[in-house]
Subunit: 313 residues, 2 copies
């Protein structure tokens, strides 16, 4: 019987998780032939259970007519070598195997540029940001490029200088700064002398607070993520919220899955831009399931560059 | 020549303003006959200048064909016995003298129920709150009643117990609590066991922070005012903002004057409800211009009950 390496959720972290302590690599045998396929399984965020995330897998056993052995599956899968994808996950999944043959772009892009991060950028900017004339993470790099395609002036922020260089030199952003090392308020005054109309927020906390200071009247804040606040109990208190009244600011939290009905138009437009060379997408690929916990920690601490992808097998 | 008592802006307060110290009563003679009517005048928020606010005045001199001596004017006027209303203010004013004869409701209601506070309640609830199935200030008491008319379950919050009693017994809110004395988190759990869909925020600060904890998915926060944050340099830091992503919360700052094009439909519907007895409106009337500074301070500190109106003459 083949062995199956999995990363399980071992303990709730207090701050940032530690590989080994809060996530653990376990190896079990798996009897694929006699494995009983179910409609639902455990929740992935319970102690002792395998973690999950968006990934690409090849089907080795299936009782679903849409998926034959050898087909690709793109969607929520366990952090493991062999993962049991249940009917509820498959049916909730807007991504289907046909996409690989339909669009001819690198496979990994279906969990990045054309997956959840790309779609978060696309939907968040278009529907909430309402670009009228808007970074380096999985989402931010895409938002900035779409905004440039739409003719906006784009300033990016990221957490290290190599990313800043990439944003300015490769993605041709109009400016970029390291929010961890510079005086954000001063930088924004310098880079956005006419204020900010759209803020696509993936950071939250103090950065958001300072940005509010620079928002123009009728500005839109796309609240997509607040990575600075994920692993701390001592959340930063945003003090400038009072400004949103006089400035008539819109702040809208959103989750991309609410917008999956737009998957087709999103993908069609994005692939076109990608093939025209208008969109670049940086990936940070880590090899081996055993490195998945550290890869997650690197996302949380900013020690990665672009969409983090773990190549399991 | 008649004398004209005015309240001038004397100094910028550090925290709450103090009557006499930051606002001062001055008396000057005014030569009405030879007074030169101008298109524009000073800004009311400069040191030494007369303060202004929404009020009702009787015209004693006019070079505007629309306003004859003896007519009423409703709009922005100085805190003074005789006030010079310039052309730019008159033309910006959506409120016209005809309203008194058109709608037969108490005059004072045109700066309350049918004025800026009433319209803030109406527009904010309808356009941002999107009542699908939302207190005791000038705005809050109206929001709650409109929300009741629309069939919503309404919980009010106010800053003293007599207001709470009024909200519950007179306005028939489904519940009300004193946000200054009770444990807001506990109270909300008790009064809103199914969470909150619309929060009409006139308070901001800690109350907003706690409310975010109780918001449902897709909740709307109408950011109309943040009175807890107006007179302090040490703004409260809102820590729960991170929740707005997962809950897909909309937070929209707004100023009612952006919506003046809806004045007519607002007034028509409100007067109908008022005449049907579906809307009550509590006013706190203070006599004498000399008491205006303290009246303002009472708004800021919550020591008033309903729309604050100063009867100058």
């Amino acid at each position: 019987m083949p062995s199956n390496k999995s990363i399980i959720f071992k303990a709730v972290p207090d701050g940032y998780p530690v590989a080994g302590e809060h996530m653990e690599l376990v190896t079990k045998e798996i009897d694929i032939e006699n494995f009983s396929l179910a409609d639902e399984r455990y929740s992935s965020y319970e102690i002792g259970q395998v973690l999950d995330g968006y990934g690409i897998a090849i089907v080795v056993k299936s009782n679903n007519k849409k998926y034959q052995v050898g087909d690709y599956f793109v969607g929520l899968i366990g952090w493991e070598e062999y993962s049991h994808i249940t009917a509820n996950v498959v049916s909730a999944e807007a991504l289907a195997k046909e996409i690989f043959t339909k669009f001819k772009v690198p496979e990994s892009h279906f969990i990045g540029l054309l997956g959840i991060p790309g779609m978060s950028a696309y939907v968040g900017l278009n529907k909430i940001g309402q670009p009228k004339k808007a970074a380096s993470g999985a989402v931010g790099q895409v938002v900035g490029q779409i905004a440039k395609i739409k003719g906006l002036r784009v300033i990016g922020s990221a957490s290290d200088d190599s990313k800043i260089k990439y944003l300015e030199e490769e993605l041709k952003f109009d400016g970029a700064f390291n929010y961890k090392t510079c005086n954000v308020d001063k930088k924004l005054k310098e880079l956005c002398p006419n204020g900010i109309d759209i803020y696509f927020d993936n950071v939250g906390g103090e950065t958001l607070d300072i940005v509010i200071n620079h928002l123009n009247n009728f500005a839109r804040v796309v609240a997509c993520g607040m990575i600075s606040q994920y692993n701390t109990k001592d959340h930063y208190g945003v003090k400038n919220l009072i400004q949103i009244i006089g400035k008539r600011v819109l702040i809208q939290g959103f989750i991309v899955s609410d917008h999956f009905q737009e998957m087709e138009s999103f993908r069609k437009e994005m692939v076109e831009w990608f093939k025209q060379g208008k969109l670049k997408y940086k990936e940070d690929i880590v090899e081996g399931i055993q490195n998945a916990p550290q890869a997650l920690i690197n996302i949380l601490t900013g020690k990665k560059f672009g969409k983090m992808i773990v190549k399991i097998c």
